[in-house]
């Protein structure tokens, strides 16, 4: 299943957030979206997931999701969004219960996704007992449990310290390598983008518009730290964004 954005524009009241964004998210690929603060990345992702409706333009899903897919468009959030009163297993079972999956069927799915995210030993732990990296792994396991057609990730690693980030990127790459998934990956971090993205969409400052789309051909599993081609791309991206990032940073917020 692909996702297609057609001329999406949006404004909150008279506050224009994004302008005329058209984009294709092809099956089995990871599309990274980068851009300065406040350019509308999270808003765009909410449009794709159907949590909000754009003022203009359309978000289309092309083709039908596979039959065993419980929740075609599934998010992974920056703040993990785990229910603190449920154990790791309980948090995963939460998203199965509404589909009537309980008991042994649920246990099978839960055991499977916990094994894939190396969390088997933590099934009974409460979120408060876990480090940030572990929590995000639980969120990933929960997303895998519903067999999503497209994963929507909003800066999934930016609440983590950089060492944990490194570890989780490895985990994501190995998950993708085993069974490729489709994903829209929003991030601020260009290192993440060049590490995980098959294509990288660069947005301009608010109102967000597409400035450039960079395609990277190196297979994910082969991308190494210090790879000159990736370094070149990352430097290129930073050149594109640097001034805008500085301008976005220096803006006074009217709260």
């Amino acid at each position: 299943m692909d996702i297609r954005l057609e001329n999406v524009s949006h404004s909150y009241d008279s506050f224009e957030v994004m302008r005329d964004i058209s984009l294709e998210i092809p099956h089995g690929r990871i599309v990274c979206i980068v851009g300065p603060s406040g350019c509308g990345k999270s808003t765009l992702l909410r449009f794709i997931g159907g949590l909000e409706r754009p003022k203009q333009g359309r978000v289309l899903q092309v083709g039908t999701p596979p039959a065993d897919c419980l929740n075609p468009l599934t998010y992974i959030f920056q703040d993990f969004a785990l229910l603190p009163w449920r154990s790791v297993a309980g948090n995963i079972s939460l998203v199965l219960e509404d589909h009537g999956i309980k008991g042994a069927a649920a246990k099978e799915i839960i055991d499977d996704v916990l094994a894939r995210t190396k969390l088997t030993d933590f099934a009974k732990a409460l979120p408060k007992q876990l480090s940030g990296g572990m929590k995000q792994r639980v969120a990933i396991a929960r997303a895998l449990a519903v067999n999503p057609a497209v994963m929507l990730m909003d800066e999934p690693l930016s609440a983590l310290d950089s060492q944990t980030r490194e570890l989780l990127m490895d985990d994501l790459v190995s998950l993708w390598t085993r069974t490729p998934f489709t994903a829209v990956y929003v991030t601020h971090n260009l290192a993440e983008a060049v590490r995980l993205g098959h294509s990288i969409v660069v947005l301009s400052r608010r109102p967000g518009q597409i400035r450039e789309i960079v395609h990277l051909d190196t297979p994910l599993a082969e991308r190494q730290f210090g790879d000159p081609e990736l370094d070149r791309q990352q430097r290129h991206l930073w050149q594109l964004m640097r001034d805008e990032a500085r301008a976005a940073d220096a803006e006074l917020l009217d709260v």
Partner: protein, 276 residues
């Protein structure tokens, strides 16, 4: 499009494109200002209709229009102000005493472990004591004049203010205090410039509750030898089973409560506009 529907499905299955379904929304309160007004008007209209038509007995509720008339009379005869001004001064003096002592003690509890250990259990034990039970004592301790009224209101506002204040001091961001220490600020500077302003939001929201309690206690306070005062007026109306005056008095207190809460809201907006 519509004429080919039947033959289409297999082909469409491969390239079918449909907008993603919306599933957000809700769970965010929207403002609907007029509804509140409508509910009030409706309730009053029903009461008026019922009392006029007779299916609400005169014993159960007064006619709203009579209550209004009572209020107008109170205003025109000037009695309203004769009752309001002693009540307001009791409220102001009593609440000011109680709140300032409460804030003082609360800050001390927040800052000093020994004070905390000594006073917190005491305050916890005093909190659930109903103030009306102590009325006879208050007469002996503070006399039947203004003294006992101030004392009762002060006593009633004191305990919730203490609890709110030391909670607020406890909740001051420790990282700001550590910052102050790391720049070598003196203890007094840290208290004055970091702890107190940081505790302000908590203290103000505690004050909101304390003042509501002060208004409620006005009635209890004016049980004690008060000739004039909204509380005395209500008590007299209750004793005479004069529902119009009872409701008029309660209405005045209710308005007083709303006014006090609005004032605190304004103070908060003014003093705490640094909150995001």
């Amino acid at each position: 499009m519509s004429d080919t529907t039947l033959s289409h499905p297999p082909a469409a299955a491969r390239t079918e494109a449909r907008t993603v379904s919306f599933r957000g929304g809700g769970f965010a309160p929207e403002r609907k200002r007029w509804v509140g007004g409508v509910v009030f008007v409706l309730l009053i209209a029903i009461a008026e209709w019922g009392t006029r038509a007779g299916w609400i007995s005169a014993l159960t509720l007064p006619k709203p229009s009579d209550v209004l008339q009572t209020l107008i009379d109170l205003h025109q005869s000037g009695l309203l102000y004769k009752h309001l001004s002693p009540s307001l001064s009791r409220l102001v003096v009593g609440a000011a005493l109680g709140a300032s002592f409460g804030i003082g003690v609360g800050v001390l509890i927040g800052l000093f472990s020994y004070v905390r250990a000594g006073l917190v259990p005491l305050v916890a034990a005093i909190f659930p004591i109903p103030k009306i039970a102590l009325l006879p004592l208050f007469v002996i301790w503070f006399g039947i004049d203004e003294g006992s009224k101030y004392a009762l209101i002060a006593f009633g506002t004191f305990t919730p203010t203490v609890v709110a204040t030391y909670g607020a001091v406890d909740n001051v961001d420790r990282s700001l205090i550590r910052m102050g220490q790391s720049f070598g600020l003196s203890w007094l500077s840290i208290v004055r410039k970091i702890v107190l302003p940081g505790a302000m939001p908590g203290i103000l929201s505690g004050l909101r509750i304390s003042l509501a309690i002060a208004i409620i206690l006005l009635v209890a306070a004016e049980m004690l030898g008060a000739e004039y005062g909204i509380g005395a007026y209500i008590l007299e109306a209750g004793a005479l089973y004069d529902l119009e005056r009872l409701f008029a008095g309660v209405l005045i207190l209710s308005v007083l409560g709303v006014v006090v809460s609005t004032v605190i809201g304004l103070v908060e907006r003014h003093l705490l506009d640094w909150r995001s």
